[in-house]
């Protein structure tokens, strides 16, 4: 069974023995902060995207690596619980695929056991995006509102509103979802819960495909940045490196205040710190999210800092995403979710950076 339909009310029943994550509202936030929460009763269907990206589930902000008492280490057992994620937007699952690559043993020779263990025990159900927002540019980075990468199952809302429909009231009003299993793990989940699913009708599949195509057209219309990064990896590789010395960086980064909102809320940013915290001789070693935007990130103990100012740090963020990752990973480390744009206190916009360099990236391509 590769394609099947399920009623929205049955979604919580997909929860296995372990944890279940779905978009929800975190209590007490007047500004509609949405997080993937463990409470399956209140799944949120109407959301542009959740504020905190999916990486949080597999790469939590704080992870205990080990505990110690004086000089005796106690390893913290690797996570064993199974995880089902429902309702991640395809941009977030695409980001997950990129994190998979970084944390895999093939990347630079070592595995990251914490992340990998959680991923092994997880089934990720993406929910195709029918409601792209003004800051969405997934199509520019090689993804799309119904992208399949990184997900085990791609779900479509049947009867969701056409993007930009005159009447917003219809958004997500359908109570049936179409599931497309993309991996063996996805198929296994469908089979394990066979009683919840009905066979998909050809009409339903067509509806889903139409909605996906319409959403994609919508994103392209909203954000045509003059370049298709995903399609031009070779050009990127050749043309980003010389941009390191480009004089425009300082202008593009003048307004940066040096916080880490963009990187912490980025679904693909994975840099971390390792620190000990203890009382007397007893404590734990943790790893936490860290940000290349902080001066301390690269400062040597001697005081020397390879990246002393915010221009260099911001350039690092963009070069990592659009150049270094392409070289190391064969992919752009950006999925176009737009979180860094909306989260930035000074509205520093990654799209401006892409637009500014689009010509330089593309020139070779165009001349061919």
């Amino acid at each position: 069974m590769d394609r099947a339909t399920i009623r929205k009310e049955d979604i919580p029943k997909l929860k296995g023995e372990g944890k279940f994550f779905a978009p929800g509202r975190k209590a007490g936030d007047a500004t509609a902060f949405v997080e993937l929460v463990e409470e399956p009763a209140e799944i949120l269907y109407e959301y542009g995207n959740v504020r905190v990206p999916l990486k949080q589930v597999f790469f939590p902000q704080t992870e205990v690596l080990c505990e110690y008492d004086f000089d005796e280490i106690t390893e913290v057992p690797l996570p064993t619980e199974s995880i089902v994620v429902f309702g991640a937007r395809p941009c977030d699952t695409r980001a997950l695929a990129q994190l998979d690559a970084v944390f895999s043993p093939e990347y630079k020779g070592h595995p990251d056991p914490y992340y990998l263990r959680r991923r092994e025990n997880s089934v990720v159900i993406a929910l195709a995006c029918s409601l792209p927002c003004g800051s969405c540019f997934c199509t520019v980075t090689g993804g799309g509102p119904a992208d399949r990468e990184g997900a085990d199952i791609l779900a479509h809302e049947l009867g969701a509103a056409e993007p930009g429909a005159a009447k917003p009231g219809a958004a997500g009003s359908g109570d049936t979802l179409l599931f497309e299993a993309l991996t063996d793990k996805g198929r296994a989940l469908l089979e394990a819960h066979g009683e919840l699913f009905a066979e998909a009708q050809a009409g339903q599949i067509e509806t889903a495909q139409k909605a996906a195509a319409a959403a994609e057209a919508k994103v392209r219309e909203l954000n045509d940045l003059g370049v298709d990064l995903g399609a031009e990896l070779d050009a990127l590789k050749r043309n980003m490196d010389p941009l390191f010395e480009d004089s425009r960086w300082s202008g593009l980064t003048d307004s940066c205040i040096g916080c880490g909102a963009c990187t912490y809320l980025c679904p693909t940013c994975y840099c971390f710190d390792i620190a000990d915290e203890s009382r007397l001789y007893k404590g734990r070693r943790i790893r936490t999210w860290d940000s290349c935007q902080f001066p301390l990130f690269t400062r040597h103990a001697s005081g020397h800092n390879p990246r002393t100012n915010k221009k260099e740090r911001l350039r690092q963020r963009f070069m990592h995403k659009f150049s270094y990752a392409v070289e190391n990973n064969e992919d752009v480390l950006c999925v176009g979710c737009g979180r860094c744009i909306t989260a930035c206190p000074v509205n520093l916009d990654i799209r401006d950076v892409i637009r500014a360099f689009a010509k330089g990236i593309q020139s070779e391509h165009v001349s061919q």
Binding site: A30, T31, F33, L131, C133, S135, S173, S255, T263
Partner: protein, 382 residues
């Protein structure tokens, strides 16, 4: 757009033409609705077509631009030789709160006032985009029979595609789906603007025309209300808000008067707090961060606006402002001569918080600060 946009552009043009500044910091149109963003124009760029024309002034110029100045006017106490290059001369479009921050920074020698040309803007208040989003969500829900609005990015309840401000003070927004809603701007202004007691900049070098809004009452009543709550309630509010903190430091970075070169949170020789999200660490950070603003905070709410998680700590910034004013009669204003309250003292300062074993009342109750709650706990103890 505010009619004063053109005046600001002219002021900038004139300053560049007369070679009085090397850089102008103002606002330009943002890339998102309900946003304008900081804009930097160098003397070199100013000659180019359309450079100065980027400058705008509207109800979304909320960022406190004073936060950028320290970088240019670095105070170098350990410098042995005199500075070779003079400090860059900077023109800055400043609301009253920006200017108050500039004054605070000047007093602490973080900004060279002589090298600044302040273009003061009598402030009509800035619009709170979170208020607008909430109002739009409510409006959309009430309007469309039975349906709900198209949600926005990052958890916003509604997606606003465009906004328009009329000269007579009405904000109109267009939602995805074509619906339009409008409010008198007074209804969607930031709380800090509604409560602002000093909306007119004093001591600016150039002042653009127009009346500032009527001064507000400072909003201390909100603090008194919170003080009246039980310790438990106050703690729960704090704990609840900070549960969302991701330690991105946006609050600190956006704050114009958080100028330490090395934040206590990042000192490594003596590690004050951990790097993770353990609640006591985030609490420690915020308590001390806000405490460090005693006598500096001008309640511009930059920290609140900057928070990507929507954590609301405005009560605490106001509390520290209120306590400083009540205890020491100091409000960070426009007077560059007024000594910051924690750099000085008076022999008449209060001793009311002191535990005096010779007096029976005892135990820590500083009635002035804790309000009834302090006594309440005390009573509970018996």
């Amino acid at each position: 757009m505010d009619s004063r946009t053109e005046e600001i552009r002219q002021a900038a043009r004139k300053l560049f033409a007369e070679d009085k500044i090397d850089l102008f910091i103002g606002f330009e149109a943002g890339t998102l609705p309900l946003r304008s963003r900081p804009c930097f124009i160098s003397a070199r760029e100013a000659g180019e077509d359309g450079a100065v024309e980027r400058l705008v002034w509207d109800s979304f110029c909320a960022n406190n631009l004073a936060a950028y100045l320290q970088k240019y006017h670095e105070n170098e106490p350990n410098r042995r030789k005199p500075r070779e290059k003079p400090y860059p001369r900077i023109g800055i479009a400043a609301k009253a709160c920006d200017l108050r921050s500039i004054v605070a920074l000047t007093k602490e020698r973080q900004v060279q006032r002589d090298s600044l040309v302040v273009v003061g803007i009598p402030c009509r208040g800035m619009i709170d985009r979170r208020k607008v989003e909430a109002a739009a969500a409510a409006g959309a829900a009430a309007d469309s029979a039975g349906g709900s609005a198209h949600p926005g990015p990052g958890g916003a309840p509604v997606e606003i595609l465009a906004h328009r401000e009329s000269e007579d003070g009405v904000l109109e927004v267009t939602l995805r789906g074509g619906q339009t809603l409008s409010w008198p701007r007074e209804e969607v202004l930031q709380a800090c603007c509604l409560e602002c007691r000093l909306p007119a900049p004093e001591g600016a070098d150039v002042v653009v025309s127009g009346e500032a809004r009527k001064p507000g009452d400072g909003g201390y009543a909100r603090i008194q209300e919170f003080e009246a709550k039980s310790l438990e309630e106050r703690w729960e509010y704090f704990r609840g808000e900070l549960a969302r903190c991701i330690r991105c430091n946006a609050c600190r970075q956006a704050c114009p008067t958080c100028w330490c070169k090395e934040c206590f949170a990042e000192q490594t020789d003596l590690k004050w707090i951990g790097v993770g999200t353990e609640p006591s660490d985030t609490m420690f950070f915020q308590i001390i961060r806000i405490f460090h603003q005693a006598g500096r905070c001008v309640e511009c709410d930059a920290c609140y606006r900057a928070c990507p998680m929507g954590i609301d700590l405005r009560l605490y910034t106001k509390k520290i402002v209120k306590d400083v004013e009540e205890a020491f009669g100091y409000l960070p204003g426009f007077d560059p001569e007024a000594a910051p309250p924690l750099t000085t003292f008076s022999e008449k300062d209060t001793d009311s918080f002191i535990t005096d074993p010779d007096k029976p009342a005892g135990a820590g109750g500083d009635g002035a600060g804790a309000g009834p709650a302090g006594h309440e706990t005390h009573a509970k103890g018996h």
